[in-house]
Symmetry: C2
Subunit: 214 residues, 2 copies
């Protein structure tokens, strides 16, 4: 009500944008990103199709923003946990929870890439924020695992981790954390373990175990 100096219109705009995104996520969860339709969302929000164009420049623009938000959400989650003292194991389960909470959001980031789609710069920046947390977390724990040829390779190919003066072994651990957990999670979420009676959570735990000092 009180038309504040910072603009009540702006607050309203932000609110509508959020509501649109909310419905967009629901559509993605229900039928996948390819079924996302601006007109359908508009109807759900209670507006006419064209009205959305004053909130988002285009359909692709909306999707890009959802991707950005997804990266941000994961990065912030991990950063917060780590700052609160979480170790590798806790971070692993944070990733797992995050993924299980909304599988299609997970796949929007880590699933099938659209050929030709070029991610904006800032999402790759957020992506490397995630790597940073992992590297810091591994740097903070003992690393008894022996060095491999890949570690030697990393000695001369670690410019991407320049901000982190850690041994290659640590970078390798962060990469393996990422790939191993993604391996279990994405197959689980995609239903590839259906028909096998085992509990995916235990396979996840077993993979995590391989990443910890024993």
């Amino acid at each position: 009500m009180t038309p504040s100096r910072t603009g009540s219109r702006e607050r309203y705009r932000a609110q509508v944008r959020e509501e649109v995104k909310q419905h967009a996520w629901e559509q993605i969860a229900t039928a996948g990103v390819s079924a996302l339709s601006l007109n359908a969302i508009a109807k759900l929000v209670g507006m006419s199709g064209p009205a959305l164009y004053s909130y988002f420049a285009s359909r692709d623009d909306l999707i890009t923003e959802l991707i950005r938000d997804a990266y941000r959400s994961l990065a912030d989650t991990l950063r917060a946990k780590f700052d609160a003292g979480a170790d590798i194991s806790v971070l692993a389960y944070a990733v797992r929870d995050w993924a299980l909470h909304d599988p299609q959001r997970y796949f929007l980031i880590y699933g099938t890439p659209t050929p030709g789609y070029q991610a904006p710069d800032d999402t790759t920046a957020i992506s490397s924020e995630i790597m940073s947390v992992l590297i810091e977390a591994f740097a903070a724990q003992p690393s008894p695992t022996p060095a491999t040829p890949f570690d030697t390779h990393l000695e001369t190919h670690s410019g991407w981790a320049a901000g982190h003066p850690v041994p290659p072994r640590t970078l390798h651990q962060a990469l393996s954390f990422w790939t191993r957990l993604h391996g279990v999670l994405s197959l689980e979420l995609a239903g590839h373990f259906a028909g096998m009676e085992f509990d995916p959570a235990l396979l996840f735990a077993a993979e995590l175990e391989t990443l910890l000092p024993h």
Copy 2:
């Protein structure tokens, strides 16, 4: 020419079906499965849109057949290699080559699932054929790695591998083979290592190494 007893019309039909699939794969490789269009394919094949309906019942039907073919191709590749004496390491690189050869085919199987899509029974059968080869391959090599809690869990949850009287440890190895290699491959193919200078092939090799007796 010689109208044979087995039917030259049938041979022709099979030929057209193959040609249609060929173009379908090209479309998928170029713009992803969601961009696959029957009318566009028909044009490429030199026919009218509706003509395809005597070859495939529907668009979904065509896609399902492509999925089936993809599974078949991977299963046959691995089975052939194994029968020719391949060990775990060779099988791993066979998977990698298969994936790199046509990333979108790989993602059609192992990528983002379409919510609500129910895979036909025979594809899950082929999928378990793939697991069979892996289990047999691990059963044929020494397994010095120590047992884990997940192995104990598998003792009572391995009905899905009933055809293979092997210790749970072997099943676990086959599962880890699958998840670890998929982890590296799918992130690599999706471009998530872009910007990092290391060679994904070496990370793949390092992950493979963890699966071998050392």
